[in-house]
Amino acid sequence: MISNRMKTALAIFLFLAFASVGAWAQMGSSMDADSAAIKQSVAAWSAAWNSHDAHATAMKYTEDGDFTNTTGIPSHGWKALEDHYNEIFTTFLKDAHRTDSVRSIRFLNADTASVDIDWQMTGAKTRDGKDVPIRKGLLTWIVTKHNGEWMIAIYHETAF
């Protein structure tokens, strides 16, 4: 009886020990997979943006996602985000095309990462309708993983 209990206890201890060692070991290799998945999410977001699909672009955020534009004006949540993208895609960014390339990824925990992305845009106009030859700058995102998919929790952008 005692030896059975001891076996159970030992089994539980071993399980816990291996689970935690396993989790550590997995973190390194899963970071490669997560980096790849994050790059894919960035590419999918870019594609949605370049299709000027406001709904699809907004859906790459978490439901309570935060966007702040280059002049510091925020949009919070899917509804406000979609409205924001609808507005820019029907006005001064109607003919714009963007290129985004991931510069760095820093994991903040297992399902949160900070991502810096170099961006460039052609075809943009100023708010009063003048052509802008090229816009470029940096996007800084906080992304979080939901059911295996990385989504934008917080989005900031700057233009150089």
């Binding site: 001891m6 030992l10 539980i12 935060d66 760095s104 900070s114 929790a153 917080i154 900031h156 150089f160």
Partner: protein, 154 residues
């Protein structure tokens, strides 16, 4: 004996998980206050033009990116960066950093937006920079520190 110990360990693990969830909400007020204090301490150090002191507000491998997208990584580079700016174009500058929003990403992780104003006597209207700072902070041994720092000038 071993069985009891392992049972106790399991109970502790389960309850600490539940406890952590419950604590998160009430801990936010205290953390919000601590973060605001940290921001004020950072601005004071910055305004003393203490490069080493400012760099010490970052974690050892902290990341800073300037308004032009130029990065500094780790305490050594950070201190060098601040030494350069405090001895050149920001020699007479004064920063005012006001917390705009705090969004907790976990019990020891937060994203903080700050309204940012840098005054400099020779700048037009005395304003050299006006914009937004966005920080990712992490709590280490009870102390909030900068993990990732970005700045945006409008």
């Amino acid at each position: 004996m071993l069985f009891k110990a392992s049972l106790a360990a399991l109970v502790v693990l389960v309850f600490s998980g539940v406890g952590a969830q419950a604590q998160m909400a009430s801990g936010h007020d205290a953390d919000t206050a601590a973060i605001k204090q940290f921001v004020a301490g950072f601005a004071d150090t910055w305004n003393n033009h203490d490069a080493r002191g400012v760099a010490a507000h970052y974690v050892e491998d902290g990341d800073f990116t300037s308004i032009k997208g130029e990065p500094s990584h780790g305490r050594k580079e950070l201190e060098d960066h601040y030494t350069t700016i405090f001895s050149t174009f920001l020699k007479n500058a004064h920063t005012t950093d006001t917390v705009k929003t705090i969004r907790f990403l976990g019990p020891d992780l937060a994203s903080v937006d700050l309204d940012w104003l840098v005054n400099e006597p020779s700048a037009p209207g005395g304003v050299l920079r006006k914009g937004l700072l966005t920080w990712v902070l992490t709590k280490r041994n009870g102390q909030w520190m900068i993990l990732v720092y970005h700045e945006f000038s409008f």
